[in-house]
Amino acid sequence: MKSISLYVNRNSFVHDVDPITKLIYIAFAILVPIIVPSFTISFICVGISLVLLAFAKVLRKTVPVFSFVFLVLITVVIIQGLFKPENETVLFQLGPITMYQEGLLFALTITLRVLTIVSAFMILVLTTKPSELVESLVRKGMSPSIGYMIVSVFQIIPEMMAAVSTITDAQRARGMETEGSFFVRFKAFLPLMGPVVLGALINTKERAMALEVRGFNSQVQKTYLYEEKTYAYSRLIRALLLLAIAGALVWRILS
């Protein structure tokens, strides 16, 4: 079995920032555009995220994710632009197709929302080891069992992929065709699901025993292999982010 994580190991100040601050940043990037519904604000949020991703030297890694998101969003734009019930103002016509302003604006809002969220999350996911994130939450008082569960969730997809490749090896080793045309591979894929799920369940049980004897449930005060990350300016950043959220709220209430 192997494990793959989206985390990219680079040297950058973004990597140095502690996970909690990144979580607060996500809250900021989600909340502010909702509280202040203006295109400019949304653009600024996406912009900040992209700049940070670039500083973290992981911009290239975001391409597959963004491409997928765009694919979905383009369909949203088309459907909303063409068919939203409130559509009135014609924007332009292409043969029989009419694009309306209301739908397009609405779709654009959704698109920006999604982009702000995705890009903010990407900062966390690409520049933070899952274990590091969980560890800092556990240090803040979260129960280690829940922490372990979260790490496991991070690992589910890689583990499933590993299990699929293990079972595929077992199957082709004994004569089942799994290579070649799309059809062959598709046919081989279906019978995999049962064993993958069963295997995962059995693993869970054996793993639970391994955890037990390694003192996982012991009441002793835990220690940590890695020192807690303390980024020099994290307090300042956190304060600024929280201030921005509060500011947005105040603006909203006053106006």
Binding site: M1, S131, R207, A210, G215, T223
Partner: protein
């Protein structure tokens, strides 16, 4: 002082009809190294798990009798409490990886973090076991991307780094090269010399004979014999219990050569060499 006391232990797995452990009694002194032998399904793994508390707390099932681990009664204490005193390495190295760590180094740290070992000492201990079991060169590998033997070494290292007072090892050298097995037995011996109590289920009789103070022979969940390796391996009914004596003992038995001035056969290379040389004179 008795470190482990087992009295009339009976245990049946849920859904099973027969007793996996049937009225087992024995005791182990501090700093003793006990070998547990017996055929497949004799109950070796179950017995080890009964000492760390997985039996009955994890498996449930019907339980009778008493197990005392350093004075703690297993039945009335949680596995977590017992894990501070007794560590266990499981039979299958492939299924005892925690799955929450990205490298071999962090994997070994897992147990140490849980029992609250301070950071600098943690790092010292990890470096020490990595060196002891010769897996320094794979310390940054993913724990799953290892050869079978390397994984087994990691499993042993992870427990030994926790420095429990009692260590249970369930066939810990099954995938190790001969050099590696020897290193593990020597490491265990040096732990024993530091006063750590050790129980090991093992099929490699030559090693058991050379290193263990006493041998516990199990059959169908019952204790058949609990004595020194010489006495146990000199029995002429071992095959009834699905066990064979060390090669050295077999040779000497075939040649009718006993240990000088004793009624038992040689069980180690050294003893066999001495006895056979003696014979030739």
């Amino acid at each position: 002082m008795n470190k482990i006391v087992v009295e009339g232990l009976k245990y049946k797995y849920p859904l099973s009809e027969t007793l996996a452990l049937d009225n087992i009694s024995f005791s182990v002194k501090e700093g003793e190294f006990i070998g547990i032998i017996g055929r497949n399904s004799a109950g070796k793994s179950t017995l080890c798990q009964a000492i760390v508390g997985l039996v009955p707390h994890f498996y449930k099932g019907a339980y009778g009798g008493k197990v005392l681990v350093d004075g703690l009664e297993v039945k009335t204490h949680s596995i977590a409490d017992i894990s501070l005193k007794a560590g266990m390495v499981f039979q299958n190295p492939f299924t005892q990886v925690t799955g929450s760590k990205m490298t071999v180094y962090e994997e070994i740290a897992f147990g140490l973090e849980n029992i609250g070992v301070p950071r600098t000492e943690m790092i010292n201990r990890i470096d020490e076991v990595l060196h002891l079991f010769k897996i320094e060169h794979v310390k940054d590998h993913n724990p799953f991307d290892l050869s079978g033997g390397q994984m087994q070494r990691m499993a042993i290292a992870s427990i030994i780094a926790m420095k429990p007072e009692i260590i249970l090892l369930d066939e810990p050298t099954s995938q190790l090269d001969p050099g590696g097995s020897e290193e593990v037995f020597q490491a265990v011996q040096s732990l024993k010399n530091q006063g750590i109590t050790i129980l090991m289920a093992e099929h490699k009789m030559e090693k058991v004979a050379q290193y263990c103070d006493k041998v516990l022979l199990l059959e169908s969940g019952k204790v058949v014999d609990y004595d020194t390796p010489e006495v146990v391996f000199s029995r002429n009914d071992l095959d009834v219990f699905g066990v064979t004596a060390p090669v050295y003992t077999k040779v000497c038995q075939a040649l009718g050569v006993k240990k000088k001035g004793a009624d038992t056969y040689p069980v180690t290379l050294k003893e066999a060499e001495a006895a056979l040389k003696e014979m030739r004179r």
